[in-house]
Symmetry: C2
Subunit: 562 residues, 2 copies
């Protein structure tokens, strides 16, 4: 009879325990959890804060409503979960875990040990960070504390960090009618996830929803009065706040493992092989405390996610009961909802791909998410990042419409080694309520193919913005309708406006000696115009993503100047 000890009652640990039990009815399985709850769904915390999920206990229920508490695990799965129990030391020689429980020390012998110690919020060295009313959003207790502070009248919040948790928190706190300021030290939000022009769309949406977004901004001090937060200082300016939420990422909990001589990888998380096994063959590790292999680069990456932790748990549960399962790695697929926007990414960003030396081709393609006359049709933008060989490297998508489907399709494609030609030929499900006849991902792949085949030359909206801000001489050829132009004009003397249906008869109005940048609303007509002009001997390039991207960048620029 084998003894399996799991340190950590989160997703990875409990999944490993449950899977082990299903495979081996005889094993003695014990889970050690430092907190009071096993198996809280941390991903659900922002929705609890905002009131969408009503009870914190909801985050620990099964789909059929059973609370996954200590009794549940004992009765249903015959797993001993020891809550409020600390693992103090792993003795690999004796194969025991030294624990502390109710103030007493004890020892748990193991045949297989599973380290699933999770992560903790990172805590940047900002003066005042230990003050009252400085919170994270990492545990059930954090979430309850935030709700409490709101109950007690906190009206202004500053979120430090424009990553995923920062985004979700910005929405949650705004929904509680707090005035929210989001501070990001890098030039754009989601710096680890998104390229600049996609991040700009997210920032614009946050501002539209009343969140003040400060990029390139460093919080130098959390200002306190009598130990309680009153604001944060950025340069000379103090932003008032009764609540400061630090969302600057998480770090793996590896002290216990490191002290036991378990190998730590270059990312600072526990290093495991494809069997989720550490350098000790009887010790496995999974969840937020381990690093994963990035499937594109082949290099270790620290991307802790609940979905990945669950997969780890299953593999570990197999392998501690005589199985032979493997976990290949991750793509860094991330999704979140922020107000009416969904934002997602997978694989490499354009910036990452360029740094790695790929000969990158990208396209940002705005599309409706379904047949454009079908009710609830909403705009989305899909960015595809490919190598000139055609290999799909990454994707980003953002908008009011359905995003998750597009990223999941592209993540699946990348993981299976697809090229942009494969994407263009995917037999995706089409009916008007669900997509356009050629789905947004196929349209995006076709645009990348056109670029690869040099059918069209493009300029990114980001570069176009820079040109517009320069004194250079060129022509912006706006081929939108009169109405579209009137509703959202480009105020620049270098603009010539000729709607696409008058372009063929108006060639004499376009100078042959200047570079022409064609622009429409979402790109299709800009492409049409650029192709036509190229074939007529003009130096024409289309603006990637059209006004759907460019006008947001131009506006964002104005706002940050003001």
């Amino acid at each position: 009879m084998s003894r399996i000890v799991v340190i950590g009652g989160g997703a990875a640990g409990l999944k490993a325990a449950a899977r082990a039990r299903r495979r081996d009815e005889e094993a003695e399985i014990t889970v050690i959890e430092a907190g009071s709850y096993p198996s809280i769904s941390r991903c659900g915390l922002p929705y609890y804060v905002e009131g969408f999920v009503h009870e914190i206990e909801n985050l620990m229920q099964t789909t059929y409503g059973a609370v996954r508490d200590v009794e549940f695990f004992k009765k249903v799965k015959n797993i001993d979960v020891l809550v409020k129990t600390k693992a103090k030391r792993i003795d690999r020689e004796k194969k025991i875990v030294e624990i502390e429980r109710n103030g007493k020390s004890d020892e748990l012998p193991y045949d297989y040990l599973v380290i699933a110690t999770g992560s903790k919020p990172s805590k940047p060295p900002i003066p005042g960070i230990d003050a009252e009313n400085v919170v994270h959003l990492h545990s059930a207790e954090d979430a309850e504390k935030i709700v409490e502070m709101w109950d007690e009248g906190a009206e202004e919040a500053v979120i430090i960090g424009g990553g995923l948790v920062g985004m979700e928190s910005a929405e949650a706190l705004s929904k509680l009618d707090m005035k929210v300021t989001l501070v990001e030290i890098m030039p754009h939000v989601l710096p680890a996830c998104l390229d600049a022009e996609i991040a700009a769309l997210v920032e614009a949406h946050l501002r539209e929803k009343g969140v003040s977004v400060l990029t390139n901004s460093k919080v130098e001090e959390i200002v306190t009065e009598d130990g309680t937060v009153s604001g944060v200082r950025i340069g000379e300016k103090v932003i008032p706040a009764q609540l400061v939420l630090v969302a600057t990422g998480v770090r793996p909990n590896v002290e216990l493992a490191r002290n036991a001589g378990i190998e730590i990888g270059e990312t600072g998380a526990i290093k495991v092989n494809e069997y989720m096994q550490t350098n000790d063959e009887n010790i496995y590790a999974g969840g937020d405390c381990v690093e994963n292999i990035n499937l594109i680069t082949g290099k270790p990456a620290y991307i802790p996610l609940g979905s990945t932790a669950n997969k780890h748990g299953r593999v570990i549960g197999d392998n501690v009961t005589g199985g032979n399962s493997t976990f290949p790695g991750v793509l860094g697929t991330i999704i979140f909802k922020v107000f009416d926007f969904t934002v997602a990414r997978t694989g490499l960003s354009e910036e990452e791909a360029r740094k790695l030396g790929y000969d990158v081709i990208t396209a940002v393609t705005p599309s409706p998410d379904r047949f454009h006359h079908y009710p609830r049709s909403k705009p989305i933008r899909v960015k595809i990042i490919a190598d000139r060989s055609g290999k799909l490297l990454g994707a980003q998508a953002v908008g009011l419409g359905v995003i998750d489907k597009r990223i999941d399709v592209l993540a699946t494609a990348i993981q299976m080694g697809a090229t942009i030609d494969d994407i263009a030929n995917l037999d995706l499900a089409y009916a008007p309520p669900f997509s356009t006849a050629l789905d947004a991902v196929i349209v995006a792949a076709n645009v990348v193919r056109n670029k690869r085949d040099r059918l069209v030359e493009t300029i990114s909206a980001e570069e176009m913005k820079k040109k517009i801000e320069s004194e250079e001489d060129f022509v912006i050829l706006d081929v939108r309708t009169d109405e579209e132009k009137a509703g959202n004009p480009i105020n620049d003397s270098r603009v010539i406006h000729i709607p696409i249906d008058r372009l063929r008869e108006s060639l004499d109005k376009i100078p042959r000696d200047k570079e022409i940048f064609t622009v429409c609303q979402i790109g299709a007509r800009g492409y049409e115009a650029a192709r036509f002009l190229m074939q007529r001997g003009f130096r024409a390039r289309m603006v990637d993503g059209g006004m759907a991207i460019l006008s947001v960048l131009l506006k964002g620029n104005k706002e940050s100047q003001s």
Copy 2:
């Protein structure tokens, strides 16, 4: 300068013409269209009938609102569209198309000819089928006629054919407050698309929404009074109807091609190679008049869809302008919305896979479509069909929740040659508003892996239903909670009810000499129970899909008996 003639102004023809123009500004491009409109979106017709799409003209607009009429094609794309023009004959020797226009004959010379003649509704040999008020839903005119008949007071409708158009029409006519009867000759609706147990879920939903569904039923006569429909006769029974909609599929329009000696494939549609080229190297064909290669079987299949037609058009547009593009084939991915349900499938059905000799493993897995406490979380069922080698062969999904994403992921995976192990490791986008930590497709793949690895034996809900109807001796072990059982009991004396959390202490209540079938609501607890009992020496199998499937089958059975 090359002359390109396109016969047919639908999706494939116009896409081919537009793509050709983008690649070749010099070519002379002419499109011949028999009807009055170029480029109607036929897939949108049911939504026009139901009033969701307000104007028939909406179905021919671009995303920026321009009407894609004759003038649009001339001005924007320099393409001549000849509407109300018939192609009478193709003379391959002289490379001309003989046309008839405004009562006059004419000839169009071509260097490249594109046949995109589309499809027509099939017309089963039922007496009375030519009567007034017998309609199809294939053209804009059909849709307008249906709306007109409704305006004139038609209150009862019979739809002949339970396929995709039958489904969408059932909803559209119900939304117009008509009493709808759907008649299907085969044992279940969607016989070409879905396996029996998934079709049963769709039928149950139609009935719930007030549609009378008659399967195994043949319309022997359309009964008329004074040339106008008054009902349909099935056996001795006449079902009153003022509108009969024939939705028994479509057939390719191939007469013109066949008469010109163009090779017709075994499906009755035009045979093309991967370049979309017919047996005449100067003649290409695409859209609803051609057959495609099924990517799994490698055999020709006739699956006409607007999405496929668009892909064909692009490939043809490339190849008639010196390109070298290919179209690999299709998976038979289909999706439709019917009332609150979405139904979709891709690849092979279980029935098809078995006929082809695969050693099939399947699982039907009910899941919530997102984190179960997130608002708007809705149930879905995902069926995965795999070969014992692990190769993914097909998938079906149905439910109130998000279906299209799951089918698109699985279609992408199948097209890229994925195994169920690949699916289980996909790095799909997870956040509570979009999926469960392990998405429904991963859960389904894991269930199939458990079966492959013989961790659990299962019985399909379909087989379980048959056993329940038999006199055999066995035990159904219902492991749901007391409340779940009370809300939806299995009324059978062979049921033993032990909630999962009492199972371990109640082993003595379960007979060791009988076969045990474990059942819960969606399958997870049934699996847990079966694993536990197997390891304790019982002969236990879980009911695939749990009560989520079984109770629908049992109820459906009662209804068809009454």
